[in-house]
């Protein structure tokens, strides 16, 4: 075994260890798994947004070739429990969500019946033979319409279609309003999105000969799925094994409990054979959670020098027909708690309502609430700068927090604390990289020639890795904030690390190995990472809320330190010296100041397992498990700048440059970190310019039902992203990381919107709602010109 060179691996742009198999087509996603005797489930989905179900005729489907079972909701109502959300803000009214609708459907795509057949084609064929009588009811899809008195009511126990009321205040907004030189208001819409993982959802449940059940599922949270399936289907949790193999993207959409996650385990046990369900893309658009879907009314009070005195926000969060997993937490805690963004706004008043509508359930999607929160703060400050005709940078600089303000509780909040950061330095770095002055002059100069260019800025912060556990209960968050890691050294001194985090493409096999290698001081090739199997990994919460490095990485770090602490005891015994005289560096135990020969880690590992010479009180083995519960949360931050050109004749937007400067604390792997920024920024650009879920407001039909209609950007629709970093280590965890996955999708939407509005400022256009599509821009320019004429 080679000895580590002792070079620190945290901070190195190592190439990913997981790439070779994925590049060679040897990845193993759920749909790649084929088991003997495996049957296929297909779902009949509601074609109506809102209807009562009359009779259901399953007879033709039952008689179709290859069909083994056909069921409607009535057969399951007492067999599989309702789908219960995992985050319920206190006081929320929770509508009952049956696994399959029984008497009433509430969105296009809701499960109405299922078929299990020998082949997938046979299952689809038979689904087409099920006959259902519906009586169509009036539907409502828009959050603002749903809270009107005349709106159709979705659930008897949710009067007015509002499940949750939430309020947060700090300082005295009324006073700020009275003292302000001016007050402006704006209404902004955060467009509904489809997360669009390239791998759709899939589930296989397989009974094992020993009576246990294995469930293969592309889950960001395998242990949570084990708990939810166990509780809802009624399977003892210890007899359930959840395996998440390679996952083709998650972005939040794969951290929720869906009907199919419960149906396959139930059916596999009923039929005593493996049952598989795989989601088509069009099915995905009407059954996998959507994101965003907010309307925000904002009022901002300010002085004529651009100083913001107060901010008032009213949020309507559309969560679709039922409360999905996290649904009550998104428009509330995750959004309005962060409404003041990176700015010192002491007087704050925010109110949010969580609204049900006849649409696909809306839940966490990359940033969940923080993109909406940052959009509030950024649209407000940009509107102030534009209203006062002041430089957008100057107004931001006047209101941005200073490094001396940290740790900082915005508006005196008890729930939000920004641990560390230096926003002014981020701004300086971004402006310099972007050449803000030069480009501002260029914009001015070109405007005279009929070329409309604009510069957009957005700053953001948020909090990652919800923790500590004991602080999550009052908010109704029904899980812990810890993560677990087991560092198991074998008798040759190599490490297998069992992590409760769950990569969906982030590259944990590489980044977690880097963290472990620095502590264990063994070559990275001597480290294996195991994730995504509840039978192997002791416990975990998985990957969401940009928590994997801050919480999962820290748990690996702490666990590896415990391994070294024990190894040091064993080494002391082997070297016959006092433990406190032993030091460990470059993969060897030494006794400084003596001529005692160094003892390699591998020899100590062998001793741990043969146990021939262990000090009194030291048990054999070198294998440590940690449940790491952070003391607080890291708050990444950043400043992004975009340079765009808008063609007023066609309404098209060309992004000429995009600079992202992010402070995500310690960088584990700069190459992978930049990759997270690129991907997040492009999802944010997609929200700003291209993507929007459309429903027909009259009948609730989903109009963006496939990738033909829903505009996911291609390579030619997006620019290069210049990603730069600033590192202010987080004091909340031992490695100083803050979280990175959501940064880009939080910063990019306001950044792009501001750039386009800047380009359109000669036309007097002050606000446009996303997505800024060519027709929307073209119409705004035309209307502005008509108004001016």
């Amino acid at each position: 075994m080679t000895i580590s060179t002792g070079k620190r691996l945290i901070g190195q742009s190592l190439r990913r260890r997981e790439d070779r198999k994925l590049l060679a087509g040897r990845g193993r996603y759920v749909d790649d798994i084929k088991l003997p005797g495996m049957l296929h489930m297909a779902i009949l989905r509601s074609p109506h947004a809102h209807a009562t179900i009359g009779s259901i005729d399953l007879s033709h489907a039952k008689a179709a070739p290859g069909v083994r079972l056909v069921l409607s909701g009535a057969a399951l109502i007492d067999r599989i429990g309702p789908i219960v959300p995992n985050w319920i803000i206190p006081g929320s009214k929770v509508p009952v969500r049956p696994v399959i609708a029984t008497d009433r459907v509430r969105f296009v795509g809701e499960c109405v019946a299922l078929v299990v057949a020998e082949t997938l084609a046979q299952a689809y064929d038979a689904v087409g033979l099920i006959e259902v009588d519906y009586e169509v009811l009036p539907a409502v899809t828009d959050e603002a319409a749903a809270v009107q008195q005349s709106a159709p009511q979705l659930h008897e126990n949710v009067p007015g279609n509002v499940t949750t009321l939430y309020k947060v205040t700090g300082g005295d907004y009324a006073k700020a309003n009275a003292e302000a030189d001016q007050v402006i208001s704006l209404r902004v819409i955060n467009n509904r999105l489809i997360p669009t993982c390239m791998e759709t959802r899939a589930v296989i449940a397989a009974p094992e000969p020993d009576g246990t059940l294995t469930v293969y599922i592309g889950s960001q949270v395998p242990h949570m799925h084990r708990r939810w399936i166990a509780e809802t289907v009624g399977i003892p949790e210890h007899q359930l094994r959840v395996v998440a193999p390679d996952i083709g993207g998650g972005f939040g959409a794969k951290m929720h409990l869906y009907p199919e996650d419960l149906l396959c385990p139930y059916l596999a046990r009923e039929l005593n054979t493996p049952v598989k369900w795989w989601e088509t893309r069009s099915e995905s658009h009407q059954s996998t959670s959507h994101g965003r879907a907010h309307t925000e009314d904002i009022e901002v009070a300010f002085k004529n020098d651009g100083r913001i005195l107060g901010l008032k926000v009213s949020t309507l969060g559309n969560v679709g027909a039922y409360l999905s997993n996290m649904a009550t937490g998104g428009p509330t805690v995750n959004t309005v708690n962060f409404g003041t963004g990176t700015y010192k706004i002491d007087n704050y008043e925010a109110f949010s309502r969580v609204v049900v509508t006849n649409t696909v359930p809306v839940d966490a999607y990359r940033g969940y609430g923080r993109p909406e929160g940052a959009y509030i703060a950024e649209r407000a400050i940009d509107a102030v700068a534009r209203h006062l005709n002041l430089d957008q940078v100057d107004v931001r600089r006047k209101n941005l927090l200073h490094s001396s303000d940290f740790p900082y509780r915005p508006y005196g909040s008890t729930g939000v604390m920004y641990d560390s950061g230096d926003y002014q330095a981020l701004l300086d770095k971004a402006l310099a990289a972007f050449d803000y002055r030069g480009r501002s002059e260029e914009c001015e100069r070109l405007r005279g020639t009929g070329i409309y260019r604009g510069i957009g800025i957005a700053a953001y912060t948020h909090m990652c890795g919800m923790a500590p556990s004991r602080r999550l209960a009052p908010g109704g968050f029904n899980r812990g904030g810890w993560e677990s890691a087991r560092v198991s050294i074998d008798s040759s001194g190599r490490a297998t690390i069992y992590s409760g985090s769950m990569s969906q493409g982030q590259g944990h096999a590489t980044s977690l190995s880097q963290i472990a290698a620095d502590v264990l001081q063994i070559p990275i090739d001597d480290i294996e990472i195991v994730q995504g199997d509840t039978r192997q990994v002791q416990a975990g919460h998985g990957t969401f809320n940009s928590r994997s490095m801050a919480v999962g990485g820290s748990s690996v770090h702490v666990s590896a330190h415990q391994v070294i602490a024990k190894a040091k005891k064993i080494a002391a015994g082997m070297l016959e010296v006092d433990e406190k005289d032993v030091s460990y560096s470059a993969g060897a135990f030494t006794v400084p100041g003596t001529d005692i020969a160094p003892l390699t880690f591998s020899k100590v590992a062998r001793m741990a397992y043969v146990g021939h010479k262990l000090p009194d009180g030291v048990a054999p083995g070198l294998d440590e498990t940690v449940f790491y519960d952070p003391t607080g949360m890291g708050a990444p931050s950043g400043v992004h700048l975009a340079y765009v050109e808008v063609d007023p004749l066609t309404g098209t937007v060309d992004i000429l440059d995009y600079v992202a400067v992010d402070d995500v604390g310690t960088l584990i792997n700069p190459l992978l970190a930049a990759g997270q920024i690129h991907g997040g920024v492009v999802q944010g650009i997609a929200q700003a310019l291209y993507e929007e879920v459309s429903y027909d407001p009259e009948n609730g039909q989903l109009l963006t039902g496939s990738l033909l209609d829903y505009a996911v950007p291609r390579a030619e629709h997006v620019p290069n992203i210049r990603s730069l970093f600033q590192e202010t280590p987080s004091p909340t965890n031992p490695i100083g990381v803050k979280g990175i996955g959501e940064s880009g999708s939080i910063a990019a939407p306001p950044c792009i919107v501001h750039a386009v509005l800047d380009a359109l400022s000669p036309f007097g256009i002050k606000h446009l709602d996303m997505p800024l599509t060519p027709p929307r821009i073209w119409a705004a320019v035309r209307n502005a010109r008509a108004g001016a004429a």
């Binding site: 790439d19 087509g25 193993r28 993982c197 390239m198 083709g248 893309r281 991907g679 990738l707 390579a715």
Partner: protein, 162 residues
């Protein structure tokens, strides 16, 4: 009742091996590749021929294998991602993807690699604009395309022939 289609025999050469399978007339080529031949590196990411995850080479041309029926491929020579490196190490496109961190979840990657090979075959030295345009048939949701474009550009700048 659904019509029980008569089975058809399809013979194709896949990654250098001659294979004969019996399929329903409605079977798509991608399902023949994945289900009948067990070559699961070719992925299905949509149902409207938008995403390109199923891209393979048919008689030297990149084709989305969900756009044709298996029976239409009878007699064709097909290369899938599993055959790209000829059973050896990564080919130069795959190696460039790893070096430039041009993949994250890896789901779009096989189709993307097949399209890049085709792009470089048609234009050995594409500009950035040509690269972006050349990959318009393949959707990636993780990378924002930035590092994919860099990976391809690294091959283009060398002026190699694909």
């Amino acid at each position: 009742m659904p019509v029980q289609a008569a089975p058809h025999e399809v013979t194709i050469e896949v990654n250098g091996s001659r294979r004969t399978v019996t399929v329903e007339a409605r079977r798509l080529l991608v399902h023949l590749i994945r289900e009948d031949l067990g070559l699961t590196g070719t992925h299905v990411g949509c149902d409207t021929s938008q995403c390109g995850a199923c891209t393979v080479e048919i008689d030297g041309q990149a084709v989305k294998s969900c756009t044709i029926l298996a029976v239409m491929a009878d007699g064709a020579s097909i290369t899938t991602i599993e055959g790209v490196a000829g059973g050896g190490d990564l080919d130069r496109v795959q190696a460039a993807f790893q070096d430039h961190h041009a993949l994250q979840c890896g789901f779009c990657t096989p189709g993307m690699v097949m399209s890049v090979r085709n792009l470089l075959k048609e234009n050995a030295s594409p500009s950035e604009r040509e690269i972006r345009h050349g990959l318009a048939g393949n959707i990636c949701r993780c990378t924002g395309y930035h590092n994919i474009v860099r990976a391809v550009a690294s091959l283009a700048s060398k002026g190699d022939v694909a």
